[in-house]
């Protein structure tokens, strides 16, 4: 994944989970981020969809189990759209 996509995802995750961006890495997950519950997961999905103009499939959403996975998914959807 590119640094730019990671930065964008990190900034969104920082807003949604209410933690500072420098505490977020590709490894960050619902296990390491306390506020990452099912409601915030939905909010993260909606924020990504709004920001990148994509629609996530239910199967994609289930696999978003770390920030790295989220960024990789966004990248995949964006390249599919272009």
């Amino acid at each position: 994944m590119t640094a730019r996509t990671f930065e964008q995802v990190r900034s969104i995750a920082s807003d949604i989970f209410g933690i500072s961006p420098d505490k977020i890495t590709t490894e960050s997950s619902p296990e390491t981020i306390e506020t990452w519950d099912s409601m915030q997961h939905l909010n993260l999905v909606l924020a990504l969809e709004e920001k990148f103009g994509v629609q996530l499939e239910p199967e994609d959403i289930e696999q978003m189990n770390s920030i790295g996975a989220v960024a990789a998914l966004v990248e995949k959807l964006q390249s599919a759209a272009h």
Binding site: D15, P21, M39, N43, L46, A47, K51, L56, E57, I61
Partner: protein
């Protein structure tokens, strides 16, 4: 002026830097500046992620800022939680600190019947009933094709009766405003195009329910309809709906449109909270017409029925619609007066004319100063102004100098001007009084009065010349919306600044000890309409003035004395010995400060909130001035609405 002017005030922060700056300002305790930057961040990026940031920072700021507090409860049949941060951030941009309570899924019936429910404990100012057709009228939504015509009709009638009972139950326990989502029609009816061939198809019956519910709502004070189908149509049904989210998370609205749902709610919340603007101040060049009148001349500026002038005419129509809703228009333009006036008076393409503007500042002074003067001339607070200007530099300058002004961000393309203006929630009104519809004419008459006043030697001569006639009457169904509106909006001549909704006033009318009077004033220059309200409450020997207020346009014309004398007379007739009243000072009500003292009241006590004044009705000589002709109507109680 061009957009490319470089100015440090435009402060081109990167959004990430803006966030850091907001955090720094909060840590420093510079809350006003932090709040302004937070609003700027929201204006530039009104998205779900930013909403989370804004609401979490708002949590730290809310007690430090002068925000209007408002509580809304959302009773729902679908997931609304992701909309809540967007709604709160949007409310914050209007200066409202919005608290939101979300009901459990589909418990809206239990919630209204149980007077101990979490809904009533929350004590909302407004309640949104956001229920979808699949829950409110399930038979009409699914398997409609299986339903016999009579059964379908009965299902529709049952749904309407359900709403009627629900609204009645709600009103028994709460005086909050109620906003009811209309029921959505299916975008693909079960019988396809056949459905639209009859009024009793799936769509026809749902329309029938909506019509009936609206009719029922009209019988109540403070019950409003939100036209959900119109909202969806405005954005396009195919874009609006997200079947994936609906089936996985019970969220029917696509990510990109959650903000639009929040904004639609704001169109009700803003007028209900009283954060509306009273005056729209517009620029001329490249706002009311294309081009610069001073350079392009009458023949060169673009305004007329054909493109590109048609875009400006569309804006003119939007302005005239606002004027019909009682919003005053004013001009603030950097121009030579003669050039601008010639275009305003004579350009054949202009739909708005000089007569539509209640105040004008056409000069080369800075706009913030002009806006201050306009507010003063029209006797409104700075926070009652909105500002419309194509030039971003002017907008930012006004924002920086006068943060209370509602600055409307015009899009770059003039074709989008009219719709940007029409979407602004600050101009929404939920009721319209006769006064609203004639306001522009009333202000024009006011100018003539001010001119006349200067030619008289004494105030008394002027008052006699005015030939004022005042009509005093108890509040009625007809005047109730205006009476409530005045308690909501009047800031200057208002002794206690107590805000009441229509429902609360209707409730007071039912109490035998409470009396609510209104005063209408007419003079030789025209009609002022209903301009004053007084509410009194009898207790034992005394009659207490709960509310006494007067619209700013009649202050100082002795109408206030006539109204007070009437209260005294009326209390005396009911056998009271004393008339008492509080003066509760606010930032804005200095004009009313000496009112009781000037009318022979004596100060009885003073505390942190204000001072209490008393008039002995047996010895008082308080009379209405003889130059005001009085007409007093007898008691009629409010009956019609619930």
């Amino acid at each position: 002026m061009s957009e490319s002017i470089s100015n440090p005030m435009l402060g081109e922060h990167h959004p990430a830097n803006l966030r850091a700056e907001v955090e720094r300002l909060i840590a420093d305790g510079t809350f006003d500046r932090a709040s302004r930057l937070l609003m700027e961040l929201w204006r530039r990026d009104p998205a779900p992620a930013a909403a989370s940031f804004v609401t979490s920072r708002l949590q730290e700021l809310r007690d430090k800022l002068a925000l209007t507090k408002f509580k809304v409860a959302i009773l729902r049949s679908f997931t609304v939680e992701p909309i809540v941060p967007l709604l709160r951030a949007e409310a914050f941009a209007y200066g409202i600190d919005l608290e939101v309570h979300v009901g459990d899924f589909n418990t809206y019936m239990q919630d209204v019947l149980d007077d101990q429910s979490s809904l009533y404990r929350f004590a909302p100012n407004a309640v949104v009933l956001a229920v979808r057709t699949d829950v409110a009228a399930p038979e009409l939504w699914r398997d409609f094709a299986d339903l016999a015509p009579e059964a379908a009709q009965q299902a529709a009638e049952r749904t309407v009766r359900g709403y009627e009972r629900w609204i009645g139950a709600f009103r028994k326990h709460s005086q909050a405003a109620l906003i009811i989502h209309s029921l959505e029609r299916p975008s693909t009816p079960s019988m396809g195009v056949l459905d639209s061939q009859s009024e009793t198809g799936q769509s026809g019956l749902i329309r029938q329910i909506n019509r009936e519910v609206r009719r029922i709502a009209e019988g109540f004070h403070g019950v409003y309809s939100l036209d959900y189908d119109a909202l969806v149509a405005r954005h396009g049904s195919e874009h609006w709906h997200d079947e994936r989210k609906w089936l996985t998370a019970r969220l029917p609205i696509a990510a990109g449109y959650l903000l639009q749902m929040a904004r639609e709610w704001m169109r009700f919340i803003v007028p209900l909270s009283g954060r509306t603007v009273k005056v729209l101040v517009v620029d001329l060049d490249n706002t009311l017409w294309g081009g610069v009148i001073g350079e392009d001349g009458m023949a060169g500026v673009k305004v007329g029925p054909e493109y590109p002038g048609a875009a400006y005419q569309a804006l003119h129509r939007a302005l005239l619609d606002l004027s019909r809703k009682g919003i005053l228009l004013a001009v603030c333009s950097k121009n030579n007066l003669d050039d601008a006036m010639e275009a305003l008076e004579k350009h054949p393409g202009m739909l708005v004319r000089a007569k539509h503007f209640s105040a004008m500042r056409i000069n080369w002074t800075d706009k913030a100063q002009n806006l201050r003067e306009i507010a003063e001339e029209l006797n409104v607070g700075i926070d009652s102004l909105a500002f419309l200007d194509d030039n971003r530099f002017e907008r930012e300058q006004v924002r920086a100098a006068l943060p209370e002004v509602t600055v409307i961000d015009l899009p770059k393309n003039p074709l989008e001007y009219a719709s940007a203006l029409r979407k602004c929630a600050a101009f929404e009104r939920l009721t319209l009084s006769a006064e609203d519809q004639q306001r522009t004419e009333m202000y024009a008459a006011q100018k003539q009065r001010a001119g006349a006043e200067q030619t008289f030697q004494s105030k008394e001569d002027f008052f006699r010349f005015l030939e004022q006639e005042a009509e005093l009457e108890p509040v009625s169904d007809l005047t109730l919306p205006r009476v409530a509106q005045l308690t909501q909006k009047t800031n200057q001549f208002n002794l206690t600044t107590r805000r009441y909704t229509e429902t609360q006033i209707a409730e007071m009318v039912k109490q035998p000890d409470w009396h609510i009077f209104s005063i209408k004033v007419h003079d030789r220059f025209g009609d002022h309409g209903l301009v004053g309200v007084a509410i009194t409450h009898d207790a034992g020997e005394q009659c207490e003035v709960d509310t006494f207020l007067l619209s700013c346009r009649v202050i100082g014309r002795t109408v206030e004395t006539a109204l007070l004398a009437h209260l005294a007379e009326s209390a005396r007739q009911r056998g009271r010995n004393r008339l008492v009243g509080w003066f509760l000072p606010t930032k804005k009500n200095a004009p009313a400060r000496d009112f009781y003292q000037q009318h022979g009241f004596e100060r009885q006590e003073t505390n942190g909130a204000g001072s209490l004044w008393t008039l002995d009705l047996k010895s008082s000589t308080l009379r209405s001035p003889d130059w005001i002709k009085l007409k007093v109507a007898t008691e009629t109680k409010v009956g019609g609405k619930n």
